[in-house]
């Protein structure tokens, strides 16, 4: 199996593949080092991740329509309820988001969770962006969506707490080669984004699940195709007192900062 295959792998397997990949890379680098001393150092403790980077646009044909998905979900639930009534011995498996991070001190109230229609509307509300911009380095992946704060995660194996405020907590982690972000909001409202990239790196899938008080989630699947975004004409750097300082791409910005 190629290292960048999209098939999800259990964590141990992915580590194994990462280790094999690292060893092969290490061997290659070691051989190359004989010819050239100035190769960059590769941190073999960091796992290798699939390349999510690039500009992505929504493929409406292959993405869920939230209303159709809501209808389908409601129908499946009705059928499931009917089956349960006909065979009372069977019990429902409780659903839960995949990540738990312990106590997060967010307000909670009693009562039932939100109904499926409201969860579906929220899933649609938070998935309206038609384009996604992803930057990825050896250490970090940054997902930019218009109107939203960036989703940023490291490439490490461990669960990472990426943002925390009195309004919610965001964590991220890797499930095999899938990148998962989970946002925990007050009153046990949980939003999960699961990113998967195809082995040819031309298709990105995003599964957004919305949970309320441990009930069944509403899932919305979106597909994105890679596109070639136009190159930025300007090279900018953020400063405090002068805001963004820009010049034309390729030129050195240090002179601008000095002045």
């Amino acid at each position: 199996m190629p290292l960048n295959d999209v098939t999800p792998m259990p964590r141990r397997s992915s580590r194994c593949f990462a280790a094999i990949g690292s060893a092969v890379l290490g061997l290659l680098l070691g051989t190359a080092a004989l010819a050239q001393d100035s190769l960059p150092q590769l941190d073999l403790d960091l796992p290798l991740r699939l390349d999510f980077s690039g500009s992505w646009e929504k493929d409406f044909g292959r993405s869920d329509n939230w209303e159709d998905e809501l209808s389908r979900t409601l129908r499946v639930r009705q059928e499931s309820a009917a089956r349960q009534q006909s065979s009372p011995g069977s019990s429902r498996i409780p659903s839960a988001p995949p990540i738990s991070i312990g106590n997060i001190n967010l307000p909670r109230s009693r009562g039932r969770g939100a109904n499926m229609v409201n969860l579906a509307r929220l899933a649609e509300y938070i998935s309206r962006q038609n384009t996604i911009e992803i930057k990825q380095t050896r250490d970090e992946i940054r997902i930019e969506r218009s109107g939203e704060a960036a989703l940023v995660c490291g490439v490490e194996y461990e669960l990472q707490r990426t943002f925390e405020s009195e309004h919610g907590v965001e964590v991220c982690g890797w499930d095999g080669q899938q990148l998962v972000f989970q946002i925990m909001l007050p009153d046990d409202l949980i939003i999960m984004h699961r990113f998967t990239v195809a082995s040819n790196q031309q298709v990105l899938n995003l599964l957004t699940s919305v949970y309320s008080k441990g009930g069944d989630p509403f899932n919305l699947r979106l597909a994105f195709n890679k596109y070639q975004a136009p190159r930025d004409e300007f090279n900018c750097i953020q400063t405090l007192s002068r805001g963004q300082v820009c010049n034309q791409s390729g030129a050195d910005l240090s002179d601008v900062l000095d002045n």
Binding site: T7, P8, M9, P10, S13, P94, A96, P97, P98, S100, I101, G102, N103, I104, N105, L106, P107, S109, G111, R112, G113, A114, V117, N118, L119, R121, L122, Y125, E140, E148, A149, A150, V152, C153, Q160, R161, T162, F163, E164, S165, E166, H167, G168, E170, D175, G176, L185, P186, D187, L189, S212, G214, I237, Q238, T239, L240, S241, R242, G243, L257
Partner: protein, 393 residues
Amino acid sequence: MLLARYRLNLRHFSTAMVLLVSACAQNIPEPPPRPLNLVGDVVLDQATQIPDEESLLEIGVQIFSSDGGEEDEYQIGDWVFDEIIQKETRFLPHLLKNTLVASNQWGAVRVIPESDPSLDLIVFGEIVQSDGKTLELEIRAIDSSGREWLNRVYADQVDQEEYPESTRFTLDNTFDANNFVEPFQDIYDRIANDLLSVRSTLDEQALVELNLVTDLLYARDLSPDSFAETLREDENGLLKLESLPAADDPMMARVADMKYRHHLFIDTVDEYYQTLYDDIQPAYVLWRRYSIDQIAEAETSRQEASQGNYGGSSGFLSLRQRYDRFKWSKIFEREFSDLAAGFNNELAPAFLELNSQVHGLSGTMEQQYREWRGILRRLFELENGELTTNASE
């Protein structure tokens, strides 16, 4: 096969998570905020006439250190704020130095990159907390004999009103450095007054002896073998005079010459820190202004959240409100983090300049300082060798 094993693992994973989610359902109250030892309003004790010569101790304010924060609380992107604290370790000592100079109570006061045996009193500081609202410093001051003058934590808190309107400068409203009063000035005034209180407990004899200890300590630093017997440590670990070289001792004349050259060097280093301070002050004050605005905003946001006005409703508008509040709190923090990065970008040339100042020496200012002391030591050995040869001839 692989896929089947994955599904099995995922089921175990989910089951374990259900148990964890259930186990973590209880809310634990947040710990109360750490009490601060606030300095309050302080008036700097300024001398109206120059104190006696033996009281004019030479002070070095060493660049501060930082405690590095809590590892557990580290989030992605926090390195930006660590970088700011690192810059503050070089900026804040200058504010203390200026206060000590303004008090008119001391000899030369300099910001120094490392502890220096040629100075009577060294002030060390650690930044415990620093943002637009709160400054907390752990300060130690030790004289050349090893006597501890200060060892305590100082804290000060300010309001948004203490930042004048010119700190929100624009092209039309430029920063007025001359009339700007440092919001945390009380903390530096308190430290200066505390140092003065300790000095007032020392009589004339003790101050004269301290000056001599400094001279011999510096001589011992240049040539440990030649001056090994001049100082001894008493039962309290303090350095005491054991024997004094003759007044016309040629080696002591060389030491005085070296000390003069060394002080010219550290005066130059201090000037570079002064230039750095002048360069970055407007951006730093603006950064602090943003910081206190952000703290005020976060406090308002916290109060809103503690009022629990989500209503417990599970309607779409309520769900959307919860998501939007989270989203905006994250965007706001992101913008603040971008400003912090902007602050670091803006200051980078000034720090690069600082580290490339001393011609002929290389590395950071700290490395250049170490290199310079090594050069002086070798020079002293060389000159002293000539002196010994001439004497034997």
